[in-house]
């Protein structure tokens, strides 16, 4: 019976060993057909309790397609300290950076192996995404191990930075179908997943994961069955997202213990279900660009006809300046100058016609001025002449007429005779009396032939002097126009003429207007308009000056400012157009950028290395060390074991057992 039992056990052991040995033997059978390999890597980087990288392992999944016995040669870019086939029996042989695997394939074969990198490689390892984890307790930065058992406000900041950006020249077609080149920094897109960070509610309260726009995404916090779970998804995909971001966790902790946290870094360009607003933005940009282009064309340039700047330039040239012949400002300057001259001369005329304040009563003819020192104007002079004629010349003529009339009375008529000569008888009466007394003889002849004719001439000439006619001269009878009557009449006419001239000058003075002592016109308004020429001229003069000053001093500078402003508008429109064009190029380049990102993602297919021709993928996982007390149960359990064994040794030894079996 015992022998049979032993034989059965031996057979079982041998069968079991055969089971173990059967498959490895099969692996060395004849060669087969290899149709494809997929190499999926998970790079696990672990941090120690101080936050330093303690090790890197690569879990490699090879999916081999084919039939029969095949040999796959994987590659290892790093020195390995261990290599283990996790789920299969195939032997992995490492030599010269290559991992040789012989396996039997029937359609598909999965091989998982775990490679542990040598510490020398771990030390200087550069990852495509930098991870920096900082722990703070009550605002003070601490190492994770220092958190154990502490209480306070916990803050964990995980900073992730995509370091894969490299300059690249993109070529793409713009909206006009032209090929455009643009240099841009293209990254390999990575999405960082901080998923399932668990915080035991016994140790943590007020767990939050706040975000900051453009810098830090907000985490999703869920509290289920006493455990608060926090997850973040951080796309490190420039230009849509910043290449460097951070996640923040804050919580109030007591007797802190932390589980291990995983940070997965996945090279992926995720498709979004977000509604595509890019086309709408692009259309708006194009319209905006068109608008700015119209503004730019409307503003134009000084040398470009039918544009604002050209118009301003022409206008300013037309306005010109004081020295530019044929320009508005020069013309206005001439007009202003002419009006000034005209006004000045009119003032002179006005002052020449009638001196303001002239007092004829105090006029001193010898000095030619009145008591106030004012010289008379033309009208003043005329009035002075008129006054002289009225008051001096005409009375003088009247007196002369009286004198001549008296002399004529003294001479009398040739027919006067018969009165006894006396002081009051006429000369003719006396001569005729003398003649008749002389009778005949020489005396009578002398009287008749010499004295009486002379008296007749004297009487005739006096009569002509008084009333006009002919006078007797040595040359005979001649007309005598300067009789006293004629002179008086002439003086009357002169006076009348002077009066009319004075009245006319009065009209002129009134038309020109009164002038103040300083030569400025007295303002006179009629129905709201200037009532005198000088006031009107002063107004025109001021207006022309103001027009000139306004055009040269305000209109031209204003136009120049407008021109400058319009030029700035043009430049702004041009700048905006350039920016919009760049924006449109950016929008147009979105497709090229996306293609580049996709290409970069597809290029990230291995970390450790992959078999030639294999389709690869790689995911990086960073794992923090748990912050928990050491397994105290082990020590306590060992102590308990010793105690229990002691008890058993003391109380349960030396007794025979009722049941005893032997093998």
């Amino acid at each position: 019976m015992k022998n049979r039992c032993r034989i059965h056990k031996l057979v079982a052991v041998i069968l079991g060993l055969l089971l173990v040995a059967a498959n490895p033997l099969a692996a060395f059978s004849a060669g087969g057909n290899l149709s494809g390999i997929k190499d999926n890597e998970l790079v696990l980087t672990t941090f120690d309790a101080n936050g330093n990288v303690s090790g890197i392992q690569v879990l490699n999944h090879l999916r081999i397609s084919g039939e029969g016995q095949v040999q796959v040669t994987d590659k290892s870019a790093y020195s390995l300290t261990s290599l283990r086939n996790l789920y299969g029996k195939e032997k992995l042989v490492v030599q010269d950076g290559q991992i040789a695997i012989n396996t039997q394939v029937e359609g598909l074969k999965d091989i998982y192996y775990l490679a542990t990198l040598d510490q020398s490689a771990v030390k200087d390892m550069k990852f495509p995404v930098n991870i920096d984890i900082q722990y703070f307790l009550d605002g003070q930065q601490v190492k994770p191990a220092e958190l154990l058992g502490k209480s306070g406000h916990l803050k964990i900041v995980v900073t992730v930075e995509n370091t894969t950006g490299t300059p690249k020249v993109l070529e793409f077609q713009n909206d006009q179908g032209e090929t455009v080149s643009k240099e841009a920094v293209i990254f390999t897109p990575y999405v960082v997943s901080l998923s399932g960070w668990k915080f035991d509610n016994r140790y943590f309260d007020n767990v939050t994961a706040p975000g900051v726009g453009g810098e830090s995404p907000e985490g999703v916090v869920t509290d289920v069955q006493g455990v608060t779970t926090v997850s973040w998804t951080i796309p490190l995909i420039p230009p849509s997202y910043p290449s460097k971001q951070y996640a923040v966790l804050e919580a109030d902790g007591r007797n802190i213990q932390l589980d291990s946290f995983d940070i997965a870094i996945i090279p992926v360009l995720p498709e979004s279900s977000q509604t595509d607003s890019l086309s709408g933005i692009k259309t708006a940009f194009e319209k905006l660009y068109s608008g700015f282009e119209s503004i730019e064309q409307g503003v134009g340039a000084e040398s470009k006809p039918d544009t604002l700047l050209y118009g301003f330039n022409t206008l300013l040239k037309g306005l010109g300046n004081e020295r530019a012949e044929g320009t508005v400002i020069n013309g206005l300057r001439q007009i202003s100058s002419g009006i000034d001259s005209l006004y000045s001369n009119l003032v002179k005329i006005r002052m020449g016609i009638a001196t303001p304040g002239f007092d004829p009563a105090t006029f001193n003819a010898a000095q030619g001025k009145d008591a106030g020192g004012r010289s008379p104007g033309a009208k003043d002079a005329i009035d002075l002449v008129r006054s002289s004629v009225d008051k001096q010349l005409i009375p003088a003529v009247d007196a002369q007429q009286q004198l001549v009339a008296g002399l004529n009375g003294v001479i009398g008529n040739p027919a006067d005779v018969g009165q006894t000569p006396s002081a009051t008888t006429s000369l003719y009466n006396d001569i005729n009396t003398l003649k008749s007394l002389a009778g005949s003889g020489p005396a009578a002849d002398l009287i008749s032939k010499a004295i009486i004719p002379k008296i007749n001439v004297l009487s005739g000439n006096l009569s002509a002097l008084e009333k006009g006619g002919q006078i007797t001269t040595s040359a005979g009878q001649v007309d005598f126009p300067a009789s006293l009557v004629a002179v008086k009449a002439g003086l009357g006419q002169v006076n009348d003429s002077l009066a009319r001239t004075s009245a006319g000058l009065d009209q002129v003075v009134q038309g020109l207007g009164d002038v103040k002592a300083d030569g400025t016109p007295v303002p006179v308004l009629l129905e709201g308009k200037p009532g005198t020429i000088l006031f009107a001229m002063a107004t025109i003069k001021d207006g022309s000056d103001a027009l000139y000053q306004g055009v040269s001093g305000q209109v031209v500078p204003g136009l120049k400012k407008m021109q400058s402003g319009v030029a700035q508008i043009g430049e702004g429109a041009s700048t905006a157009k350039v920016s919009l064009a760049a924006g449109l190029v950016d929008l147009s380049s979105a497709g090229a950028i996306k293609d580049s990102l996709k290409a970069n993602v597809e290029a990230v297919d291995t970390f450790l290395g992959k078999p030639d021709g294999a389709q690869g993928s790689v995911i990086y996982v960073f794992r923090t060390a748990p912050v928990k007390p050491a397994a105290g149960g082990l020590t306590n359990g060992l102590i308990a074991l010793v105690v229990l064994l002691g008890l058993l040794a003391a109380l349960g030894r030396g007794q025979s057992t009722p049941v005893k079996m032997e093998a």
Partner: protein, 163 residues
């Protein structure tokens, strides 16, 4: 007596976390088995046998984890290694150890540690030995409780009738 056993067992359960004896139920199993040893049973040898069985089982699982393909598609290797380790445990009975103790120790270890191996073999590195110690404590507690109960039962019977 039953109340005393229940209280002692309750105290053990209460402190099972402190002892790392998550498989505390093993104590009940051990208790049930060890009571069958009777008042004259070799409890100390049973304890040593159980511990050795447990060590052999643990070694088997470690060998499985280190040297063979990992779960889930490794049933054949589990079968072979388990069979070999069990065979070794049975062989040890030839040197005077109790076979039942070896088997309980081996089985208790598998009950406590194999789920860890099945779920995540990497956990064994940190949790394998503590789980084995916990299982050992559970088994020894059951054994000690059984011993106490038997001792008390014998003492009580002696007081009542001298039999």
């Amino acid at each position: 007596m039953g109340l005393v056993a229940a209280v002692l067992f309750g105290v053990f359960i209460y402190f099972q976390g402190l002892l790392g004896a998550q498989a505390f139920f093993l104590a009940a199993i051990a208790l049930a088995f060890f009571v069958t040893l009777g008042p004259n049973g070799e409890f100390f040898k049973m304890g040593l046998s159980m511990l050795l069985g447990l060590v052999i089982g643990l070694a088997g699982i470690f060998v499985l984890a280190i040297a063979f393909p990992l779960p889930p598609y490794n049933t054949g290797y589990v079968a072979v290694v388990s069979a070999v380790s069990l065979f070794l445990a049975l062989l040890l009975s030839a040197v005077g150890l109790r076979l039942d103790g070896l088997l309980i120790g081996w089985g208790g270890l598998y009950a406590a540690v194999y789920p860890l191996y099945q779920n995540d073999p990497t956990v064994l590195a940190s949790a394998g030995v503590p789980a084995a110690v916990g299982a050992a404590v559970s088994l020894l507690v059951g054994l000690v409780l059984g011993l106490f109960i038997l001792k008390m039962a014998v003492a009580s019977a002696a007081r009542e009738g001298g039999s």
